[in-house]
Symmetry: C2
Subunit: 199 residues, 2 copies
């Protein structure tokens, strides 16, 4: 099945790749045009400016990923079930797009990132947090600090992708080996979560 892309779609696809890999500052409009097989003038015709094109990409990527992770989570009862699903979904999804964590970190840590930060959906974090509070209340899990635990959970899932270039270099992993390692990591993290949370 060959999909025929119109110019706008070609630009968006090319811009995504360039921006996600290089960040806003490191990306060149010329590079996007080359990858899309069109000329620079088209970029401005469709999106006016580099800034506007970037904003469009950021929104699309973010709004694409977060809901996918959250999907169906509301139907689960315990925090442990939700945490399990989060780990599975997150790692499987990011394994397909391993540059996303860096893209987000890169974007929100720049000066004047306020606008981008406000676009990030917070429902996932809030619902995990609420569920964690509730289960502590019920005595289902140990009396740990909910906010600190959520930061740990996110960090254990996302941090390896941010450090991937180091890990790959120092342990001689190629992309596939690193990806496999992250899949194995799912089961390991589920164990850690239980060790920490279960009374």
């Amino acid at each position: 099945m060959t999909v025929v892309l119109n110019t706008e779609e070609k630009i968006l696809l090319a811009a995504e790749e360039i921006f996600v890999l290089n960040g806003y500052d490191g990306s060149r409009m010329q590079a996007i045009a080359d990858k899309a097989n069109i000329n620079k003038a088209m970029l401005h015709y469709y999106f006016r400016s580099k800034e506007k094109l970037f904003e469009r990409i950021f929104e699309e990527k973010v709004l694409h990923f977060f809901p996918k992770i959250e999907e169906d989570m509301v139907h689960l009862n315990t925090f442990l079930e939700k945490a399990d699903l989060f780990v599975e979904r997150y790692i499987h999804l990011i394994n397909q797009y391993p540059y996303i964590p860096f893209f987000v970190v890169n974007t929100i840590n720049k000066p004047n990132s306020q606008g981008f930060i406000e676009k990030l959906p917070l429902s996932l974090k809030r619902s995990l947090l609420a569920s964690l509070y509730a289960d502590i209340e019920k005595g289902l899990i140990k009396d740990i600090q909910p906010f600190q635990f959520i930061m740990s959970l996110l960090g254990m899932c996302a941090f390896p992708y941010l450090m991937a270039p180091i890990f790959k270099h120092s342990f001689r992993f190629n992309d596939a080996e690193f990806s496999d390692l992250m899949i194995l990591r799912i089961a390991e993290l589920k164990r850690y979560i239980r060790f920490i949370l279960l009374p």
Copy 2:
């Protein structure tokens, strides 16, 4: 005590601040010159090029931080003691320079980052890993995956700093409050480590 800085020192101090905050691509030689209260020509007189100046800053920062964390760790016997010390040292140190994790992540994830990755000292990671293997062997700690655990340990310490803009925004923390939260995190992480590792 007022320290009088010569031109080279003024440049290095200014370059550090600009590069650490904005990354290589986001930094401007003019901005460094302005902050150092000199003109652009001086930058090239002392360091030839932007690239060379950046390399100098990266090396200095990295070689400054890693050894500080590792100091005295070799004298500790068990992995648990080393992990405790790591968490304490890392969070206290990064609390003083909270932009360092982003600076490193930003630098190693760019295309052509190979040169910078090779400059990173690996002794810390290797010695933690070796110690972890040894203590599992001795039955002092559970049979977990050493590499996966080390990634988790690093992630639990460093990730919050990378996500700080989001956390600050969504929970209305100011810098001081976030810093305090990280100090409290030390004790919490030590608990998690024990839950995971101790039989």
